[in-house]
């Protein structure tokens, strides 16, 4: 029973990270209707930036804030330079652009910071929170920060002018443009926010998986699984999916003997395929009906 509780809380804690990545994916999917295959590498790059700032002597929170700000600007820049020109191009072009971005960021990070794993600090400490050792303070912080982020996003989309404008730009660009919303800048804003959320996710996961250019590949896959499970068009769904995938991953790793720790990525593949086949819109996503 204790093992079960431990695995469950560990699942919720890693689920928080998947939720963050899934949130970032959903942000861009909402804005341009595409899945950002480079999301993981963008988050990895942001994490390296935070690490670099700390190497230069910045305290943790300053480094984190700086990384978030730079990532936001980077996200906007990527949209304006790479994706704006192909906004109306066919799907293949867009996917290839994402793949190109992925390859570029990955090998650029390796070029600048090399491929050795680096330890990443956490301000929360890795000590267990209670004497039972159920959950570490860092894990608890991960969960709380994810919920904080979700609340912040909810408030932003619900109560601010910009948030509402972003939503309407995503839902009906033509009408939004007619009422004076600058749709292109709303999309760029979506990219910036996704990059910033990715930076937070990267910095939170780095103390656990160590910092290296390929650290986000597996996490991105879980983020995909989470976003698909929750519904690609729903931010709360992404968070729900994130926690669900974290729990599924940990419990099946513990209790299905064959799967063990060896086939963990295959679980994500299985989740994605099963959800897409049974309920492509996900748990909380909206169904799109195509007009003939």
């Amino acid at each position: 029973m204790e093992l079960f509780a431990q695995q469950l809380t560990a699942g919720i804690a890693t689920g928080a990270i998947y939720a963050c990545v899934a949130l970032a994916l959903v942000m861009i999917y909402q804005a341009i209707g595409h899945i950002n295959f480079a999301q993981g590498e963008m988050a990895m790059f942001s994490t390296f930036l935070a690490w670099q700032f700390m190497q230069w002597g910045a305290p943790y929170w300053v480094a984190l804030s700086a990384a978030v700000v730079v990532s936001f600007a980077g996200g906007v820049l990527i949209d304006r330079t790479i994706f704006k020109p192909v906004r109306n191009a066919q799907m293949l072009t867009q996917i290839v652009m994402f793949v190109g971005l992925l390859a570029m960021l990955n090998s650029l990070a390796g070029f600048i910071w090399d491929f050795t794993s680096k330890p990443f600090p956490t301000p929360f400490g890795a000590d267990p929170l209670f004497s039972s050792g159920l959950i570490s303070t860092h894990q608890l912080a991960m969960i709380l920060i994810t919920f904080g982020l979700l609340l912040l996003l909810f408030g932003f989309f619900r109560y601010t002018r910009v948030g509402l404008a972003m939503q309407s730009a995503a839902e009906n660009p033509a009408s939004a443009r007619l009422v004076g919303i600058r749709v292109e800048w709303m999309i760029a804003l979506g990219w910036g926010m996704a990059a910033a959320i990715g930076a937070i996710a990267g910095v939170l996961i780095a103390p656990i998986v160590f910092l290296e250019p390929n650290m986000m590949l597996g996490i991105l896959l879980y983020g995909f699984a989470a976003a698909v499970l929750g519904g690609l068009s729903s931010p709360p769904g992404a968070v729900l999916g994130g926690f669900a995938v974290g729990i599924i991953e940990n419990l099946s790793g513990t209790y299905i003997p064959v799967v063990g720790g060896e086939l963990k990525l295959t679980i994500a593949l299985a989740i994605i395929i099963v959800v897409l086949v049974i309920k492509p819109s996900g748990l909380l996503g909206s169904r799109h009906v195509q007009r003939v």
């Binding site: 295959f37 799907m91 390859a103 570029m104 896959l221 064959v258 086939l263 990525l265 994605i272």
Partner: protein
């Protein structure tokens, strides 16, 4: 349908690309030109291994192998409109099939190809079945996941007895048939050349048949294709199978030539490389596969001269620049040259 708009549409689709490339002024001349080009390429391909250094023969063999895989991907993406980031998985299945047959079963390398082809066709067809319900972006997602999970599945301990686990398998290099005065590398090159030629011819003919037209109809307008009586799900799954078959044969040849398979050779990077090759060569133009294959083999080498690990950046940058500047790849470049030449000649005539 108004004829003007249908004409315009046709000239933009890759189907007509061959005709445009071959020349529009006279069909007879274009056939001669294509035949001439084909014969010239074949002569060069046959003479090459006798003048090149051993290492370059090996590299030319790898170009042919990648070209087969890219032809397979092109059939799926360029002619059927389905996108895959997961072809490293089928390449891996082909490679492992060949390696296991040769290492555990002591079976001749020649027989590994049809077996790899059959197994990959089945796997591709089976993966294609659920993938039918996945439109565009979702299919890309599922295949991306397949690609990332592949190395882990290959390392799986239950299969370790067969796959060799993390270490992989080492196989012996086949000798040329008795009586042929060739080195092992030269023979493997010719063997690969023959297979490539056969598979290329089959693909070229496939896209000209009823089946090929059905594939393209599904790409251009799935709804219209279905209403014309094309069994869309079946064709899509079959195309996925055929595409996997090509990639699997390439994988088997790759294992034979490299004499080695290991899980970490079949990562997402390989899938990305195949997509790069497809895009560089030109989506929907089969001969482009050879340009794309040469690109993915040689360009990263050049990049690595400057810094280890920069090949990914080169891929990425090339992809982005290509998509922004010349979305048609080599095919687009040739088409552009042809248009310019036609414009120049008509200006001279006028």
């Amino acid at each position: 349908m108004p004829p003007a708009s249908s004409m315009q549409h046709a000239s933009e689709t890759p189907i007509e690309l061959a005709a445009v490339l071959g020349g529009t002024q006279s069909t007879q001349r274009s056939v001669d030109l294509k035949l001439l080009t084909g014969v010239a390429v074949l002569i060069v391909a046959v003479v090459l291994p006798f003048v090149l250094h051993t290492f370059f023969i090996f590299q030319m063999t790898m170009v042919l192998i990648y070209a087969i895989a890219i032809i397979g991907l092109n059939l799926l993406t360029g002619f059927n409109g389905q996108f895959s980031l997961g072809h490293a998985a089928f390449y891996a299945i082909g490679a492992y099939t060949a390696a296991i047959m040769m290492d555990k079963g002591d079976i001749s390398y020649v027989w590994t190809l049809p077996v790899s082809a059959a197994i990959c066709f089945v796997f591709g067809f089976l993966f294609g079945l659920p993938a039918l319900r996945l439109e565009g972006i979702y299919l890309a997602l599922a295949t991306f996941a397949l690609s990332i999970a592949t190395p882990q599945i290959l390392k799986f301990s239950l299969f370790e007895h067969w796959t060799g686990g993390v270490q992989g398998l080492v196989i012996t290099k086949p000798d040329p048939p008795a009586g042929l005065p060739l080195t092992q590398d030269q023979w493997l090159y010719f063997f690969t050349l023959i297979v490539t030629f056969l598979l290329f011819a089959v693909a070229q003919n496939l896209i000209r048949t009823r089946t090929g037209r059905a594939m393209m109809a599904i790409r251009d307008n799935p709804l219209a294709a279905r209403s014309m009586g094309i069994n869309t799900p079946l064709y899509k799954a079959l195309t996925f199978g055929v595409s996997a078959l090509y990639t699997g044969v390439a994988g088997a040849l790759g294992a034979i030539v490299l004499q080695f398979v290991a899980p970490d050779s079949f990562t997402i990077s390989l899938s990305v490389a195949l997509v790069v090759g497809l895009v560089v060569g030109g989506v929907g133009w089969l001969p482009g596969a050879f340009f794309g294959a040469a690109f993915i083999l040689f360009v990263p080498n050049v990049a690595e001269h400057f810094s280890k690990g920069l090949s990914g950046a080169t891929y990425g940058l090339m992809l982005v620049v290509l998509m922004l500047v010349m979305p048609g790849g080599c095919a687009g470049l040739l088409r552009l040259l042809r248009t310019l030449r036609n414009a120049a000649s008509s200006a001279n005539n006028g």
